[in-house]
Amino acid sequence: MTLKGARERWVRTGGVELCVAELGDPEQPTVVLVHGYPDSKEVWSEVAARLADRFHVVLYDVRGHGRSTAPRPLRGGFTLAKLTDDFLAVVDAVSPDRPVHLVGHDWGSVQSWEFVTVGRTEGRIASFTSISGPSLDHFGHWINARVKRPTPRRVGQLLGQGAKSWYVYLLHTPALPELAWRGPLGKRWPKILERVERVPGGDYPTSSLPSDAAHGAWLYRDNVRARLSRPRPDAFAHAPVQLITPQGDAFLSERLYDDLDRWAPRLTRRTLPAKHWIPRTRPDQVASWIEAFVTSVDGGRPAAVPTGRHADRFAGQLVLVTGAGSGIGRATAFAFAEAGARVIAVDRDAEAAARTAELSRLVGAPEAWAEPADVSDEQAMEKLAEKVDREYGVLDVLVNNAGIGLSGSFFATTADDWRRVLDVNLWGVIHGCRLFGARMAERGQGGHIVNIASAAAYQPSRALPAYSTSKAAVLMLSECLRAELASQDIGVTAVCPGFVNTNITSTARFTGVDAAEERRRRQRTARLYGLRNYPPEKVADAILDAVTRNTAVAPVTPEARGAHVLSRFAPGLLRRIARVEPRL
């Protein structure tokens, strides 16, 4: 079906025939993709297509699934030992001389953990990427540890995972699951996946689904009780492991992997905000992480592991920051760079943007580029969006940060002043969201947009009518966009900093005063902001936190938080503060 250009072969082993598909150049490192339940190898079609031009990609239908034949009798035919035999048979056929890079999703990952922790596969596996499937042995030890020392937290973790495993109990009932899958459930499953798991429709799942699911029930019946009650004490991984954890997985708790470092000493963690079926919903991200991991292991050098906050989340992602030549934008670019993201620094000031890109590479960005552009210039932004799309790809995170300050009485603010501040602060954000957000939505693999508003968005002030208006608009724009993009897994965050020590003060315009007075006020505000001394680096950290938690509105700095609370519970007080004329 969907595996275009695949070469097929059949491997006979232990009384079954396995259907094996190969893509790409066999001279390249071999990547073996193992599917889960209820699936067939076609679950990997999107990821395999993305890996095929760099690797020799091998997929096979697990016994009883897809076009592979089922063992007779079914009971006892799906034990992990037999699955390991199958794997070795496939590997010996497709890559007899070199160890393979293993990738498993769901039950494919569960069985791959067995492959990577038993002695007889040693030397046959170069690396293992695990997606949404724990080792049953590790799981057993995880449960035991929590039963033996039931602190409230551990009991909570146990109950949480217990509830998520409801389907495992159902699958242990005789005959019923088979009836359901071959009957109504099998028919409705594609729709359920589309609605609940947001798996794009099309040619997945395949027509073999009812029999895959019916046979696959024996994966659980043959292994789960046996392994969970008597987990192996020596289930240590003998190859480097990359663990990819979708945070919205309905079946597996993130806590399951807390102790994993004990079993897999060379562990790389990756997380992403998605549901269970990431090979279907996030093929780009999954393929790029597999590629990076396989390349680093194959290169024989330990990958330069990014050490920054949330490196598990942002490594390899494409991030664009506007206004990245200074202040919060620059600090944000550095924070993403430290987390291993690829950074595009956009700024009016080409030299400053280049500097940001250069230092980003220095602190850990695998790639960083500077793009000079004025966010208020629609055509320039369109050109930029086209260039980014053509040369770097679709953004994973967009930070609309560029902004300017404007202070002074409403009546002293000219129409030109208004235009300038709205052009940059509001239209800059609109252009960014429109151009880059559209491509993000079109790709359909999630993403995040961060708009830097301000505490002035909800704290009125007689000194900042134009600036506050522009920022309030950004706040509301973010909220509306968040509502619209929620269905496409694109988060939108409005970050509202208070007084942050950046050079916005030295470029801000003060209306209604002469040049000398304006300069004096600039210096004075810069001094006050300097005394407040809230570093932009902290705002950058808050931005990364907000993206990982998908926060809607993130006030940063105590005064911004305070005003945010007051705006809800005592807006009258804020109005009274608004009347105070700051003495500058």
Partner: protein, 280 residues
């Protein structure tokens, strides 16, 4: 003592240059002996012993050593945090050695940045410090108020993408005056600072307070005056995401009308200056 400089300049300066060279030699010798596992305390002791063996008896301040993110003074809140800790050096870690020996009555105060193995971030910081050395000398020659020079250095740092870490020093100083120190048989120190030197600094501060200048070169109003003739230990300190780098050396300021004579670096044959020359 502060006024003595202009009259007997060359001889005096010889002494200061000798002790500054000695201090940098010490820094290079100790840096060469650093290896994984050496702690800040041990590095500080190595500096102390090296200089003691060569006749140093008094200190402007005792040797400091900062490793890892302590080179950028991450989370420094109280001055006690400047003192060496048991932090051990690891491969790739940046370090800074900072010492201020007094030798034959002359004071030096130097800072030496390096790393154990390769540290591209610190290399970059060190390379970018060259612009600061030039900026400071140029603006001192222009007789700009010290406070303004401080702010210009700040602006340059921000443009470069770095944070000002000399702000963490007491009074946020980028430089302070150093001078001749009377040699006593007993030279106690107070919080790491030699009492003789502190006495000199206090006397300067008192004089300055009356005359409208300060021996501390800070961002505050008391530094809002043109450069004062004398010897200034200048120490711009850059920080970038947990990595810091600085140099510290003596800038000679005189009351000469000739710009080139009015201010100059005491010695241009120092490790960081040589490094910049090599890179070109």
């Amino acid at each position: 003592m502060t006024t003595a400089v202009s009259s007997e300049l060359p001889v005096e300066l010889q002494g200061f240059r000798r002790v500054q060279r000695l201090a940098y030699e010490c820094a290079e010798a100790v840096a060469a002996r650093l290896e994984p596992g050496v702690t800040e305390r041990e590095a500080a002791r190595m500096q102390r012993e090296w200089l003691r063996e060569r006749g140093v008896r008094d200190w402007f301040h005792l040797p400091f050593a900062w490793f890892g993110d302590r080179t950028a003074f991450v989370d420094f809140r109280i001055p006690l945090q400047f003192f060496p800790t048991d932090r051990a050096l690891e491969p790739g870690m940046p370090f800074i050695l900072d010492m201020a020996p007094v030798y034959e009555g002359h004071t030096a105060d130097i800072g030496y940045s390096g790393s154990l193995g390769v540290n591209p971030v610190q290399d970059r910081l060190m390379a970018d410090l060259e612009a600061h050395r030039e900026l400071i000398l140029r603006e001192v020659r222009e007789r700009r108020p010290l406070r303004e020079i401080y702010q210009d250095v700040d602006r340059l740092m921000v443009r470069q993408g770095y944070a000002n870490r000399h702000r963490a020093y007491p009074f946020g100083v980028i430089a302070h005056k150093v001078d001749r120190v009377k040699q006593r048989r007993w030279s106690p120190h107070l919080f790491g600072f030699g009492t003789q030197s502190l006495k000199g600094l206090a006397a300067d501060a008192l004089h300055g307070h009356r005359e409208g200048w300060s021996p501390l070169w800070s961002p505050y109003r008391f530094s809002d005056h043109p450069p004062r003739p004398g010897l200034w230990a200048v120490e711009p300190h850059l920080g970038f995401r947990g990595t810091g780098a600085k140099f510290e050396e003596i800038l000679v300021v005189t009351d000469s009308r000739d710009p080139a004579e009015s201010a100059f670096w005491l010695d241009d044959d120092l490790p960081h200056v040589r490094r910049w020359a090599e890179e070109k």
